[in-house]
Symmetry: C2
Subunit: 422 residues, 2 copies
């Protein structure tokens, strides 16, 4: 199931994709802020969007588009303005950006999907789109994946992209992905955005099902601050350019493709969690012994979302009481007498009873994980390498397992979100 390898190129690693990222003047900082992903041929598209009642114009636009037809040629994404809370004008602006790009690419505007991130309630800078889109199309290339990943970030410290390759029917099939988001909502800014490209040939219905499951096991299992954005968007394209036989139902090849899709989504999801505002480390909660996968995921996400657990990790405090308490309120019934809790290699609780453990050594484990988290310059952009803090919880009540990812809660989270006094 996991015989894939990591390859370079992000969203342009799969065959038949071009991408670009340019500075179009949407961000006041002058940083890159307009990205394009282009499939040279028709690609099918699947999407997962925010469940919020307050949605950006581009989210409603994509949902309507995907309901009508799934074939897509391009995704246009801007950073700077979220185009949320902008009413009818925002809807009109979104349409116009699609038309501008369609004119330039000589394609139908219906073949374009849109995404935005940035400040809520501000109109998009239409003049910047008008001037920028022709440049963006010119810049698009098979090496443009990294530039595109750079152009969609806002307060993120690092761009987030990945590409994997696995043989299917003896032919290399690739999935590339990029994402942004360092809080579910940023200081007055919105959004988790993720884009996935694939060169397998898959039926639209199956691709959407795979994407739903992959999102459930990745993006839906991370939390930075519990705040769902108005713009959350995950779009996955598949253009069939690997020239494999069409995959239309589940089977060994489909499972292989879905496992790789899930891996790409999990990589991006973890990268977002690690880059959470103010975070000093990534936290992975592994839950086992649950009645089913859903229950396990629910407990894992509750623990990783607990402000008290997050504060304790920031304080390098092996505080099993908070982990147990968070598990207890997750809405999943279990017998407290069977609860087992591990932190890294330290067994803190077994059969519902606290165990004696080396508190200093457990605290040192937390210190070490955070110390090893490093931010490094790599080419044009910053990169991160690090292992997560592992919290493993067994409910002793079944075979369901699930994981969730988050980050610690630091002074800087409050600082970033309090000091953005406009």
């Amino acid at each position: 199931m996991t015989d894939w390898q990591v390859v370079n190129g992000g969203v342009t690693a799969p065959r038949g994709y071009r991408a670009a990222g340019i500075a179009a003047g949407l961000k006041p900082s002058g940083a890159p802020d307009l990205a394009l992903i282009l499939s040279e041929t028709d690609a099918i598209a699947a999407g997962v969007f925010t469940t919020s009642q307050v949605r950006a114009a581009c989210v409603d636009y994509c949902r309507r588009r995907l309901n009508k037809r799934a074939s897509t040629r391009a995704i246009l994404c801007n950073a700077g303005q979220a185009n949320a809370g902008t009413g009818k004008q925002g809807v009109q602006d979104a349409k116009e950006t699609a038309q501008l790009l369609a004119q330039e690419l000589l394609i139908d505007p219906q073949d374009i999907l849109l995404a935005s991130t940035g400040v809520i309630g501000q109109r998009m800078k239409m003049e910047a789109f008008r001037a920028g889109i022709p440049r963006l199309v010119t810049a698009a290339s098979q090496e443009g994946g990294d530039a595109a990943a750079q152009a969609i970030i806002t307060t993120d410290l690092v761009p987030k992209s990945i590409a994997l390759e696995t043989p299917i029917e003896g032919r290399p099939v690739r999935i590339g992905g990029m994402a942004k988001g360092s809080g579910m909502i940023h200081p007055n800014m919105a959004t988790l955005l993720a884009f996935v490209t694939c060169d397998a040939l898959v039926s639209t219905a199956l691709w959407q099902k795979m994407l739903n499951r992959a999102a459930q096991r990745s993006f839906n299992q991370i939390t930075v601050d519990g705040d769902t954005s108005t713009n959350d968007t995950l779009i996955a394209l598949a253009n069939g350019q690997s020239r494999t036989t069409a995959i239309t139902e589940m089977g060994p090849e489909a499972e292989k493709l879905e496992a790789m899709l899930t891996e790409v989504c999990q990589y991006l999801a973890k990268a977002i969690a690690r880059d959470g505002e103010g975070a000093t480390c990534l936290i992975e909660v592994q839950v086992s012994g649950a009645p089913n996968e859903q229950a396990a995921c629910q407990v894992a996400k509750t623990i990783v979302g607990s402000s008290l657990v997050k504060s304790a990790i920031f304080g390098r405090d092996p505080n099993w009481g908070r982990i147990a308490a968070a598990a207890g309120r997750a809405g999943v019934p279990f017998e407290p007498e069977r609860l087992q809790i591990r932190l890294g290699n330290f067994l803190l609780m077994d059969n519902g009873q606290p165990l004696p453990f080396d508190r200093q050594a457990a605290s040192d484990y937390l210190k070490q994980v955070a110390a090893e988290s490093s931010l490094e310059q790599e080419g044009q952009s910053m990169q991160r390498r690090d292992n997560p803090v592992i919290i493993a919880v067994d409910l002793g009540d079944g075979s369901g397992t699930g994981k969730a990812w988050g980050c610690d809660l630091s002074y800087d989270y409050v600082k970033i979100n309090a000091e953005y006094t406009t």
Copy 2:
């Protein structure tokens, strides 16, 4: 409905109650840590408890007791050890404390309810109970309400108690209450505890119904950090000593009593929210225009629990985008085009469109509310006087209204919860 007056005495303000609070040596600090509420005659009791799967021994003890019989003579409450995560030994210890008190009061142990708060996973100091309980019983008096309120707090900055009086059938009926809790869970400490006394004569079934509704509109509508404790307990006694006719079904007198009970619970709930760890102000979210009360309460609680809204209030930032985004993810369907948001007297959004407003003046409003929050010495203990920051949201979709209370998220919250490195 609101023709009550505030009276002194807390839980001993109603007729026929005595109380005490002493330092029994359970807290390492030597501060008061053991409290008793005693009804001179049989009182009926209603209770609402934590929904967590991980519960303290005293919570299970009370639930079993109230299922068997509702008559109660005394509530024994300790601070210092939560008696949660203590397994079978904890169950045994809880029983023994009831037996010790029963011997001293010459009553049946079944007539005693128990509550604990403090560190999770530590055994209660039984020697301190054995030595302290006789002193506690001796100390119990009709003026002991304030001492009892002082003895149940842990990291709370102020004790929380209130008493109200209203005429029923021309006779004065009183309800007194006290509570503690400054996070849903404290640094490794647990609990929201609240105790209410009343001298009305009410049927057990009706009293429990009233308490459920009052809890729904008060304690269930506050959040400091979203973490539900292992020990949350609300117990309300009614001993009939006001000598009014028995209230057994809803009607004008019952409504009056329930309104006063709700007011007592809301007062205590707000006091807990205001005393949230690290908080600089109380936040009240008022939601109107919802399909029903439950939906309104859900939206209100989601907004007041949003880390981003809380951080913005701490930063004195009139950030309507975060309020709208939190409303949108509350799980209640509404039309974003009808959304209206006010902050104090400032209308920030109407018909789903952001409005121009005096950003500096709105920020000054937040500064002023926080500046006016004062902590003052009053007699033996600290007291607070302050108005909340008001966030009013109208969904434009019905007549349901609801409120929720919380506090801002400050550096000190992270500090308190991170630096408790054990």
